[in-house]
Structure formats: structure tokens, C-alpha cells
């Protein structure tokens, strides 16, 4: 019997680098910007960072759920923009209440997730292809009812009349209300949503049996199945979680914009996938995890906010994100595979 085992008590320098490297980088970044960029270390700046990453963060948590079962969801960006258009359509054209709009969006997200899961699990379409197809389908679908135009009160409809409805104040509050937190009007609703959802997904993945089983599926589907796990059901659930969270992101986006803007949300997919992948590197997890995803989203937010405050031009943003992603993936795969 060979007793060659990694002694967890004595960690090498590499182990430390894998484990805390990314967090150290994050702290270093905050310290650097606090010194170099005037006004960076203020509550308003912090809230702004949170707000800027709230929607991508929520979407990224959904992607995380699909990554955990060794799947992938490319349709989240399209689900979010579909929810944006749907909520506007329900309120502005159909003149329904905020509640109806929200419920319709969530149901739409769940349904898309169900169809994705069905395609992948029952029809055996590879996950990337199924969700890519769904992405195109949704991008196309959301334009059909309005003939490709954005939705706002007073717009003319295909039948010649004008839209009489409007975004209800309660709905807009989802995007614009701020809670008092030591300082008046500090924390936006979207940030509260992000925090609540992040904690919820974290608890779900780490502490419930459902999350545990999902990780088992992602690591060894066959073994999980032989341990009695209904693999197909859990995979479908993962895609439904992803769809619902993406539709929540879309609702918050709609509430912030206040109109059904057809051009919004182009970057949502890439940003949230990046956040989830950066999350692999946090604390040396080397696997999808909710905490890492949240930190990943924050990391990108802090970096962009700091650079903006130091007058870096906006067009460098994607380059910076790409750089962060590549470094994070290097951390995850090159370093942790050496173990």
C-alpha cells in the first residue's frame, strides 16, 4: 500500500500562490487604486462598483450552476435581453402591472432553461450548440413583436395605434431605488439582489444535497448515476436556474433603463462567463463556485472603476478584461494541475 499523500499541513509556496494569489491581487488592486486614484476609497465608489457588476454577477451565478454540472449556457445574455424586452412589452404595450411583467419574465427564463435542458439531456445536443441555437432564437424572437424597434411609451405599434402603457413606478424602483445604509440613498436594489442571490447560490451549492449532487455530476457523471443520482433531472434544473437568474438580470436592466432598448445587454454574456471562469482561480478552487464567481465579478468591476478614475480610455476596457481572464485561467489550470 503506497502512502504517498499530499500533506495538507505543510503548504508549499506554489500552494499558497494558487490558494491566495488571486485574493492577494484583489487586495493589492484596491490598495493601489485607493492611493493612486482620488475618491476611489469612498462608499459611493464602492457602491458604484457593486452596481456596475450586479447584473453580470447575477448572470454569472447562473452560468456557474451550469458549469457545476459540466454544462455551459451561452443563451444567458439573450435570455436577459429577452426579459428586458418582454417586461417592456407587457407593461407598455399590454398595459399590465409590474407584478405581471416580473412573473412573465421569470416564467420565460424558467421555460428557456427547461428547453435548453431538454435539448441537451433528451435530444443529446451538445450543450454549446443547444444554447447557441437558443441564443439566436431568442435574439430573433425578441424583435418580432415590435418589428425590430425599441419599446417606449408612445411608440407606434404594427397595427397603427400607439402604445399607451408605461413602466410602472414599482418596476422602475427595482432599478432606481436606493436603500439607506448609514448614508441616505446608498445601496441600489440591484446590489441587494446580487448579494442575496450570491449567498443563496453559495448555500445551495455548498450546503444542500442538491448542490453536492450537482458537483458529483460535474466531476463524474457515470459514478453519480450509479450512486443513484437522477442525472438528467439535475442537469435540467441547472439550466433552469441559469435561465431564471438571467431573466432576473434582464428585469433589473429593464428597470434601470426604463425602456425596452433593443441594443442593450450586448456584453452581458461575455462579461458573466468571464466572471464565472475567473471564479475558478479564487482560493484555488479550480472548479466553478459561487463565492469565486462573485469575487470574479467584483474583481473586474474594481479594475474597470479604478482605471476609469485614473482616466484610462473606455475602449481599453475589453482588453483589460481579457487580460484578467487569461491570467486567472493560467492560475487555475497551469498551477493547480501541478499538484
Amino acid at each position: 500500500m503506497s502512502e504517498t499523500r499530499v500533506n495538507t499541513k505543510t503548504m508549499s509556496l506554489t500552494d499558497y500562490a494558487i490558494r491566495y494569489g488571486f485574493v492577494a491581487l484583489l487586495v493589492g488592486l484596491v490598495v493601489y487604486f485607493s492611493i493612486a486614484a482620488e475618491g476611489f476609497a469612498s462608499p459611493y465608489s464602492a457602491v458604484f462598483i457593486f452596481q456596475s457588476v450586479a447584473i453580470t454577477g447575477i448572470l454569472a451565478l447562473g452560468v456557474t450552476a451550469t458549469l457545476v454540472v459540466d454544462g455551459f449556457d451561452l443563451s444567458i445574455g439573450a435570455v436577459a435581453t429577452s426579459a428586458l424586452m418582454l417586461s417592456a412589452y407587457v407593461m407598455v404595450v399590454l398595459e399590465q402591472s409590474a407584478l405581471v411583467a416580473v412573473v412573465a419574465c421569470l416564467l420565460m427564463g424558467a421555460l428557456v432553461g427547461l428547453i435548453n435542458g431538454f435539448l441537451i439531456v433528451q435530444m443529446r445536443v451538445p450543450d454549446l450548440l443547444a444554447t447557441l441555437g437558443m441564443m439566436f432564437l431568442l435574439i430573433g424572437l425578441q424583435r418580432i413583436p415590435t418589428e425590430g424597434r425599441s419599446i417606449a411609451t408612445g411608440m407606434s405599434l404594427p397595427d397603427g395605434s400607439t402604445a399607451q402603457g408605461s413602466f410602472s413606478p414599482e418596476f422602475l424602483a427595482l432599478g432606481r431605488h436606493r436603500f439607506d445604509f448609514f448614508i441616505d440613498n446608498l445601496i441600489p436594489v440591484s446590489v441587494v439582489f446580487l448579494i442575496v442571490i450570491a449567498i443563496g447560490i453559495w448555500l445551495f451549492l455548498e450546503y444542500t444535497r442538491y448542490g453536492r449532487v450537482m458537483y458529483a455530476i460535474g466531476s463524474n457523471q457515470r459514478a453519480a448515476s450509479l450512486a443513484g443520482v437522477p442525472v438528467k433531472k439535475y442537469k435540467i434544473i441547472a439550466y433552469m436556474i441559469s435561465g431564471v437568474l438571467a431573466s432576473m438580470g434582464g428585469i433589473l436592466l429593464a428597470a434601470r433603463l426604463g425602456r425596452g432598448d433593443i441594443a442593450s445587454g450586448n456584453n452581458l454574456l461575455l462579461d458573466s462567463v468571464a466572471a464565472a471562469l475567473i471564479g475558478f482561480a479564487v482560493l484555488g478552487a479550480a472548479k466553478p463556485n459561487a463565492f469565486g464567481t462573485a469575487i470574479g465579478a467584483l474583481f473586474v468591476g474594481i479594475l474597470l472603476q479604478g482605471l476609469t478614475m485614473m482616466n484610462a480610455p473606455y475602449y481599453t476596457q475589453d482588453f483589460v478584461k481579457g487580460g484578467v481572464l487569461v491570467v486567472a485561467l493560467m492560475f487555475t489550470f497551469a498551477l493547480s494541475n501541478r499538484r
Binding site: E3, L203, T208, N220, R222, S225, L226, A227, G228
Partner: protein, 511 residues
Amino acid sequence: MAGIPIKIRGLEKRFAANRVLRGVDLDIPAGKVTVLMGANGAGKSTLVKIICGLYEADAGEVFLNDEPFAPNTPSAALQAGIVTVHQNINDGVVPDLDVASNLMLDWLANPKSAPLLNPRRIRKSAEEIAAKLDLNFDMNSMVSDLTLADRQLVAIARAMAHSPKMMILDEPTSSLSAAEAERLFRLVEKLRESGVAILYISHRMSDIRRVADRIVSMRDGTIVGKYETAPLDYEGAVNDMLGHTMTDVNITVQAPGEKVLELTDVKLKPESQPINLTAHRNEVIAITGLVGVGKTQLSEVLFGQMAAAGGKVQLNGKPYAPNSARDAINQGVFLCAKDRGTNGVVQDFDINRNITLPFLSSLSSFGFVRRNAEYKITNAAIDKLGIVCQGANDEIGTLSGGNQQKVMVGRWLSHECDVLILDEPFQGVDIAARRDIGTKLRETAKDRATIVLVAELDEALEIADRILVMAEFTIVGEHKNEHVDVDLILEQVSGAAAAKDQQKQKEGAAR
């Protein structure tokens, strides 16, 4: 064409502490089919992988036509005239290309070939290759549209285009029907006539009887028997391969308790003979037989992974036909599957999570896993089986093979069940861990029926109250594990006793 193209002398190979080859000496003569037999882990595939350039030997030499030969890549071996047809048929073909392109694949891959394709010429060359072996393929059909057997013939035909000196066939019939296998055998005979040295690896006695000119048995990394003169001594070869060196484990056969599981005329394949089997509480049954005789299929039927082709199963007197693993587990039938790496262990999980995975619903409240309850079970399993680790949170990958297997067995012992099936529980396990697992299985067997599926007779002898022998997808022998007639078991394992044993089998069914 005589001569001995391949001579192997003193070949050694170790993986970490594990000596897989311990000085192999072997000659493979031209124009003959040399069958290599050996149980799992005997070192057959390591030997093959060294000859075909996938592994490098630690010591010893291979001679090709009396020249030292040490290929460092598979293509170097191929250039030198050694062709391997692997067990996994799809490794040998490109499914999305047509037959002609597959036959010409080596030409297509050669950097020296012309950059432009001339489809007519490719087709013509491909037809020539096929014609050499009297194979009739539609050159334009996609390989993905062919049956597995035809794909294999394509792979062999392509290999033959190199006019090889030696061909290695690694369990080539494992996914073929009888008629398809017969086509393959005719091809093998044709190759033999053309003077190719053939090394044929198989567990199937019917194949071996059909094609073997000589048999070489391997066990624990050495050659333990050679049979070269007709008529070949098949039983002797099986005996060598299983090597029943009587073990020092003493079994006191227990009186069986009440009947738990009853199989009546269960058929694993539509054309196979029915199986009748009864399992009792407080009884450990070992089902032994060569690889590929249906042991795993039997476990799959009982664990809801596949439907039987006929017959009925009763559990505690009620009809039992699980449709999933979940269903089987809920009804009290557990399976510790073989090949723990693929079917058992979740690599990303620690010991604790691996053990509790099937039982999470009973270990959680409102979906939240109760940490205390789960660690209690894990720590009990660690103690019970003597799993060597620092604690319940050790990653499974840091444990030795034996300890990983203990985790798997510990998982299924952690909850009570009516029937516990273990498929090759001693696979890749050292002798000490094997004893530990065996003892623990017998100690805990009182309230359930235990069925252990093993290819090695030794393992059956040191664990079972009753030994059943399987061959050709049915049960061909039954033995109480007291004063066992080992020769009779070996006869049954090798299939020689099939006819003689009809009578005995009927008695077994009546039991």
C-alpha cells in the same frame, strides 16, 4: 515462411511501486497465431503497449528480426512493421470520412504525399488494399454508417497495407456477434497463411479454441505457461492464468438465512441460456468466470442499468424490476461497480463526500446536508475498514488504490441493504487491502445477501460460502466452498465442462 520475427527478453516495467512486468521472455513466431491469456492486471496490455511504442521498458529488450527494437512512438512501431488493432474499434477509424479515405489514411497523413488529392487514384489504391484481403466495401460509404465489425475490418485492412511483420489483436471480438467474429477469424487465418506473426489477446475460450496455434499464459507480470503442441491444453492454460495457489484464508461456510433474491429463467441476451439463482441472507455468493461472460450484465440487470431479455426477478417475494440505480437503491439493492475510476469515485470529492453521495436524502433536512450525521457515517466507515488517511476530508485522489476501493466498499456498507452486489471489488487492490475488504464483507453479511463478481478464482475461494461459475452468459456450475473441486471449477470456467455439466446445472436450478 518460418522464423521468429519478435523475441522479447527480460522485459521489466514498473509504475510507481507496482511491478507490472517482472522479466517477460517471449517469442512470437511467423505464420502462427499466438494467443496471450491473462487475468486483469496480469500485464498483457502493458506488454503490448511497449511493443507498439506507447510505453518504454525499464529493462530488457525486444528484438525485431534479431535487431534490437525500441520504438518510442506508435508510428515508429508501425514503420517497423508492427501493427496493432486495439480493443476499442473506433480508435482505429475516422468515422466521418468514407471508406476509401480511411484505407488511405496513412498516405493522407504522410507529409511526403502530394498536396492535391486525386479522388480517382485514392479510390483505386484503396480498392487494391481491400482486394488483397478479399474485402468488398463500398468505397464511398461513410465509416460511421458501417457496423462495428466492418469498421474493424477497415482498420485491419488499412494496417495490412503496410505489409506488417507482426499484428497484435487486442480482444478484437469483444463487441462482435458470432457471425462477425467468424469473418474476423477467416481474415486472421489469411494473415497467418501470408506469414505474419500474430499475437492475439483474448479471454474468450471459444475464440481461443478457434484460432490458437499456441497459447501463452501470463500472471503477475511473468509468463507462467506455454502450450505449443496440438491438441492444446486449454484447461492448463486457464489454470496457469488464474493460478489457484490455495490461499491461507479459512472460510467457515455459514448456514444461509431466509431467501432474499430469486432469479427465474433470467436471460441476459435473447439467445443465451436462462439463469436461475437464489440468494439468501447471511450468505456470500461469488460468481466467477472469465471476463466477458456476462457477470457485469447480470449486475446491471439487478441494479436497473439494463433490462433482462427474459425471465423474472423477485426480491423478498415481490416482483423486482428496477428502472434506475435510484430505484434499485430505494428497494434495498446496492451495487459497488467495477472500475472505480470511471464508475465509482468522484475525483473532485473528499472521502466524506464520496461515501455519503448515494445517501444524501436521508442525511439532510430541508435539503441542507446535516454535517454531523454525515461525518458520523464517514468516520465509522474509516474505522470499520481501516482506511489509511488523515481524516474524512482527505481528497480521494491522495489515497492509494486499495484505500480508494475501501472507500467505495465502505460507502455501500454504511447503510443496510437486502442485496449487496460487488463487481470486481478486488480490482487494482493490494493483498492486504483485499484481505481487509473480504473480512469486512463476511463480518457484515448477516442481514443481507452478498453477491461478489470476480474473474479470479482465488478471490472467490477466499470470500464465498457458495461459488457459482458463469460461462457464455449463463451459470454453468455451483459449488459449496468446502473441499472444492478446483479442477472441476477450472473446467467449467474454460467451458470444457459445459456438456458434462448439464446435469449438475439442473440440480443447481432446483435448489
